[in-house]
């Protein structure tokens, strides 16, 4: 359990810190790996580009993916992940401020596992992150890894 990581793809440092804070408050001890744009996320997961050192990092337990990202958008990241056999089954939770239906529909169409809208109220936000951690890290059985 300990070695299972959470990958957070988020460009906003405030949100990065708030999520870290919320995870801490929920006593979720899994390592939180943070990348701040879509390109980094793809490098990290698929081992291409300049992240060659982590070519063979174990896949995270869950990926928290923002949609509005510099360089490569969240939806594009999701599409690429789902098209790669290695990452096709990794649970991806969309964590975004957008409540646009279109975004929601596109995400689910690309086999996102969940769609969570970041509430403005931190209390609610922290609660959401807590529930999310509990569910994906504790309750959910991840697909078997090769």
């Amino acid at each position: 359990m300990k070695n299972k990581t959470i990958l957070l793809v988020e460009d906003n440092p405030d949100d990065q810190e708030l999520i870290q804070m919320a995870l801490d408050e929920s006593h979720i001890a899994n390592e939180l790996v943070i990348v701040s744009d879509g390109a980094q996320a793809l490098d990290y997961l698929l081992g291409s580009g300049k992240s060659e050192v982590r070519d063979l990092v174990p896949l995270p337990q869950v990926i928290l993916l923002d949609l509005k990202l510099p360089k490569v958008s969240g939806l594009e990241v999701l599409r690429r992940l789902r098209s790669e056999p290695r990452t096709a089954l990794v649970p991806v939770v969309i964590l975004t401020t957008s409540s646009e239906q279109e975004d929601m529909l596109s995400s689910y169409a690309l086999h996102a596992n969940s769609y969570i809208r970041k509430p403005v109220d931190f209390g609610q936000f922290a609660e959401a992150v807590k529930q999310l951690g509990l569910y994906w890290l504790v309750l959910n059985e991840a697909p078997p890894m090769k």
Binding site: N12, D15, L18, K68, T97, V120, D121, F122
Partner: protein
């Protein structure tokens, strides 16, 4: 042909015919009777003549026979014959005796006597002993009947043709006997047939043409016919019907042709003793002359009577018909239009009554005539009006055709003859004189490129196709091109063969040009619309991007503010002091409100630009769902929801849900002060429109602000009283308008509010 006669000629004719028949019958009867009597009389006359002649002839013959016998019995002559015979021939004595005998015979012979010749024959040899005709002496008459029979007694030989005399002859004979009775000689005396002739030919004098004659068995005339004086006739034979019958030894009366070939009434008698035929005759012409005279008389008298009868009949007819003529004349004059003509009533019989009736009829007719004249005048007036109106219509039609540029045409298929209206000629730009009036001439007017299509159209039209309009061009003489729209229909006979086709042509040149312009304008317009659309699309894209940014980028800092405020509150609570904590709470409260504002703005933006997908939606079911959520949000509140059963509309489910959500949340919010809140959702039919309403018994509002109600960020209550962003009703109105509906309210302060809305005809 049937004769058309008036009453007078008719009556007269009838009288005359009647009289004519009567007179003719009488005349004929009289004539026939007269003729019959005349015939009988004639026959009687002829018969008596014949009998008289016969008797006279017999008497004459007997007389001559007696004469002969008397001569023969004369003793003197007897003695002389004895002497002659006893004397030697050529003796003196003999000569003397001969002379004495001749002398003795002489008184019996002409001119003193009645005989032509007297002779004595030798009884043995028949030799002529003595004769008054010396030439006869010495001849032998031994085979003559008068000799043979004369030896035994007195005898007359009937008329025979004497070869010696070359004429008819008749001879009587008697024996000359001695005293002792021995036969001395035979005396023969030739009769003078002139006497017989005289007897027979003796003219009665009663008639002109009557005559009598004798014919012997050799069909020869024995006596001279009275009417043919030529003696040569005696040597001629006569063969008429009467003679032939008579020579068959019969007697009778016959009406036949006589020897001259004239029709005659003939009495013939066979005289057996004389072996002769006695003919008495009279010409029919004369026999019937009195009858014919009578006939003439009858005719004359009849004619006279007829004329008299005609005159009488005419007079009678006139007198009978004069009232009828008066009637007729009256009728005729009446018929010619002299309606005031009346008939004088002169009699009181049927004709008089008729005249009375006629006068009554004439009165009635005059009245009718007057009425009719009135009607006719009226009719004439009507006809005039109609004619004027018809002319007006014709003029209008022609003008209408001219103004509308519509002409009419008519094709007689059998004769291939085309008839056009004035306007049609104008449209085709040709004069009636220049146009050939045939289909070929018509096709030649068509623009060469359109001819084939027009011929195809005409073909379809003639095969019975209906309702097809065809547009084509004509090339005018000046080179200009006109656009024509033709339409027409064929009239088929029972066999389905087209006999006639009629239709219209319209000059659509101006319209065509206008259409071209419109087409061009449309193209330009479309171009412009396309440009605008793409501009709009770009603007929309920008707006979407903006909304996207708002939802992302405005919320993220808020969350950071709220998050870190919270971190401050939880992690440094002891060091902030009461005021510091209060400020942080106010910061957090405002971030929350700002988040709400952003969310509401996003919703408003979404309901404005989101594409609508219409589908059946049950508004009441939606209301129920929302009511459940509201109840769950605050289970302590006592709120009674009154929601109608079902109201299915066509609309966008998401947008309608936003609308109901806003309205019900408002109702929920503004009834909060009420201990027993009531929220009613329902609808009513207003004509063809369905009006929905959401009613509450909340705090209501002053109707003077109702125009501000639906503006964004407009609020009628303070945030402290009722929280809200002032965007909800703007969103509601936007959705209602997008559905083509209307929204309005009724409210009063503290008396609740009712929101009414409709969803437009399509919903």
């Amino acid at each position: 042909m049937k004769l058309r006669l008036g009453i007078i000629p008719k009556l007269t004719l009838v009288f005359v015919i009647f009289a004519a028949v009567l007179i003719a019958s009488l005349g004929l009867l009289v004539f026939r009777n007269a003729r019959s009597s005349l015939q009988t009389a004639n026959i009687s006359g002829l018969l008596s003549t014949a009998l008289e002649k016969e008797t006279a002839l017999d008497a004459w013959v007997e007389e001559r026979q007696d004469d002969t016998a008397a001569i023969a019995a004369s003793p003197h002559l007897r003695d002389e014959v004895m002497r002659l015979r006893s004397a030697a021939p050529d003796s003196e004595e003999a000569r003397a005796a001969y002379d004495r005998l001749v002398a003795g015979f002489a008184p019996y012979v002409k001119p003193q006597g009645v005989f032509l010749e007297v002779m004595a024959l030798d009884p043995e040899t028949g030799e002529v002993l003595v004769s008054t005709n010396p030439a006869e002496k010495g001849k032998f008459k031994e085979n003559r009947p008068y000799f043979i029979n004369g030896r035994d007694g007195s005898y007359v030989q009937n008329v025979y043709y004497s070869i010696t005399l070359q004429a008819p002859a008749m001879t009587a004979s008697a024996p000359i006997r001695s005293e002792d009775g021995s036969l001395l000689a035979v005396l023969a005396a030739r009769l003078n047939l002139e006497e017989m002739n005289a007897i027979i030919a003796r003219h009665t004098g009663l008639h002109q043409s009557d005559e009598a004659f004798l014919v012997n068995t050799s069909s020869l005339f024995v006596t001279q016919p009275r009417l043919i004086p030529d003696p040569a006739v005696l040597q001629r034979g006569v063969h008429t019907e009467a003679v032939d019958r008579c020579l068959e030894r019969s007697s009778g009366v016959i009406s036949a042709l006589d020897y001259r070939g004239n029709p005659a009434l003939i009495v013939y008698r066979w005289l057996p003793e004389r072996q002769l035929c006695l003919i008495t005759k009279i010409d029919q012409a004369e026999a019937l002359a009195p009858a014919n005279a009578l006939r003439g008389t009858i005719f004359t008298v009849s004619g006279f009577i007829l004329i008299l009868a005609s005159v009488l009949a005419y007079g009678l007819a006139r007198s009978i018909t004069s009232p009828i003529r008066a009637l007729q004349d009256g009728t005729a004059r009446f018929g010619r239009g002299e309606l005031e003509k009346r008939i004088p009533i002169t009699t009181h019989d049927e004709l008089g009554k008729l005249a009375v009736e006629f006068n009554a009829m004439a009165d009635a007719l005059m009245k009718k005539e007057e009425q009719l004249r009135g009607h006719a005048a009226q009719l004439e007036k009507m006809v005039e009006e109609r004619t004027a109106s018809l002319r007006e219509k014709e003029y209008l039609l022609s003008e209408a055709q001219r103004i509308a540029h519509i002409g009419s045409w008519d094709v007689n298929v059998a004769d291939n003859e085309i008839t056009w209206s004035e306007e049609t000629y104008r449209i085709y730009g040709i004069s009636p004189e220049a146009f050939g009036h045939t289909t070929q001439a018509f096709v030649e007017l068509i623009h060469p490129d359109d001819r084939e299509a027009v011929q195809g159209w005409i073909g379809r039209l003639l095969s019975g196709t209906k309702g097809e309009q065809h547009e084509f061009r004509v090339q005018l003489a000046d080179g200009a091109v006109r656009h024509i729209r033709g339409s027409g229909e064929a009239i088929l006979n029972e066999a389905g063969v087209p006999v006639r086709a009629i239709g219209a042509v319209q000059d659509i040149t101006e319209r065509k040009q206008a259409e071209d312009e419109i087409r061009q304008l449309n193209a330009e317009l479309e171009q412009r619309v396309a440009e605008r659309t793409s501009e709009l699309r770009a603007a929309n894209k920008e707006l979407e991007a903006f909304a996207y940014s708002v939802s992302h980028d405005l919320r993220a800092p808020l969350r950071a503010i709220d998050g870190f405020s919270q971190a401050l509150l939880s992690k440094f609570s002891g060091q902030l002091g009461e005021a510091g904590e209060h400020y942080l709470v106010r910061v957090r409260e405002n971030t929350r409100r700002m988040g709400q504002l952003i969310d509401d703005l996003l919703t408003l933006s979404r309901v404005s630009r989101q594409e609508m997908s219409r589908q059946p939606v049950d508004l009441m079911a939606l209301a129920n769902e929302i009511a459940v959520i509201l109840r769950d949000s605050d289970p302590q509140r006592k709120v009674r929801f009154k929601i109608a059963e079902q109201a299915i509309v066509e609309g966008d489910a998401g947008l309608l849900k936003v609308t109901l959500q806003n309205l019900l949340e408002n109702a929920w919010k503004f009834t909060a002060p009420r201990e027993f809140a009531e929220i009613e959702v329902g609808f009513s039919e207003n004509g063809s429109e369905r009006v929905f309403h959401v009613r509450d018994n909340g705090v209501g509002f002053d109707m003077q602000y109702t125009d501000k109600l639906f503006g964004a960020f407009q609020r009628l209550h303070s945030i402290q009283e009722f929280p809200g962003t002032g965007i909800g009703l703007a969103t509601v109105q936007r959705v209602i308008h997008r559905h083509g509906g209307r929204i309005w309210t009724e409210a009063a302060v503290n008396e609740g509010a009712t929101f009414y809305f409709t969803l437009g005809a399509d919903s």
